[in-house]
């Protein structure tokens, strides 16, 4: 019994971008306001799960051809690399560095190595959650 999901699919095509944009916003807002890598990763996962609900597993795998297991590994490497970078500067493990830079488009921006660690957390969360859902939802 295959039903006509035209309303769900058309709405998903619009809503997916809004959720994804909001997840990026939440990811960058983690320093002074609520948000961060974990919540941003879960929101991105939510957007992909919405795609999985509206379309099917094969279509989404074709549209997003990432190996999510490898993505989890890259995230862990990023987090570990940020933490162990402090060894080379003769400071304790996990010491973060930050300073102000003059970027061409953003102007005066404060950059912090904690953001790279957060990106690692983000990748781990997205990779792990999607791997779980694909493994449970798959036919094999």
């Amino acid at each position: 019994m295959k039903t006509n999901d035209v309303i769900l699919q058309t709405t998903t095509k619009v809503v997916f971008f809004i959720i994804f944009l909001f997840s990026i916003h939440i990811f960058f807002a983690g320093h002074y306001s609520p948000g961060g890598g974990f919540v941003g990763g879960l929101l991105t996962t939510g957007a992909i799960v919405l795609l999985l609900l509206a379309f099917d597993l094969k279509t989404v795998q074709k549209a997003l051809p990432f190996n999510f297991t490898i993505m989890t590994g890259i995230g862990l490497l990023l987090a570990l690399g940020t933490a162990s970078g402090s060894i080379f500067f003769d400071v304790p493990f996990f010491t973060h560095a930050f300073s102000h830079f003059n970027l061409p488009l953003f102007g005066e921006t404060s950059l912090h190595t904690a953001m790279i660690f957060d990106a690692g957390v983000y990748l781990v969360v997205v990779g792990a959650a999607i791997t779980m859902i694909q493994t449970i939802g798959g036919d094999t």
Binding site: T3, N4, V6, I7, Q9, T10, T11
Partner: protein, 159 residues
Amino acid sequence: MAFQILLNFFIASVWMFMSSSMNARTFIVGYLIGFLLIFMMRRFFKQRLYIERLWATIKLTLLFFKELTLSNISVLLLVLRPNLNIQPMIFALPTDLEHDWEITLLASLITLTPGTIVLYVSDDQRTLYIHAIDVDDVDDAIDSIKNSFEKAIKEVSRP
């Protein structure tokens, strides 16, 4: 339509480079000049001016708010009625909208106005099955939807 908007943005950007000031005010002035030029050259485009479709979209929004208010009041009167002599009904609405987004928009508008709910879209997307809370005459209900929402959506999507 998309081509006309892009052309308008292009003219505005060229105007910004000509007057060598990169701020929002110059861009808006350039955009208005570009719109005037496109309006003068409207005979050369195969499609309607994009401002007409924008106007049709605004009219559709206003129509939706009008229908929302009126149908809310009618459902409120139904609820407050002491004796419940309503005639619920599921009827098929034949539609000749083609694109997916038109069907979605029509279904959302019908569902958001109280008293009517879209239950199902047929596989060939030619029929919508609608549940209505109080129908005296089916042809009347179909005609009212066709003449209000469907006509406005067609007005928006006409190239």
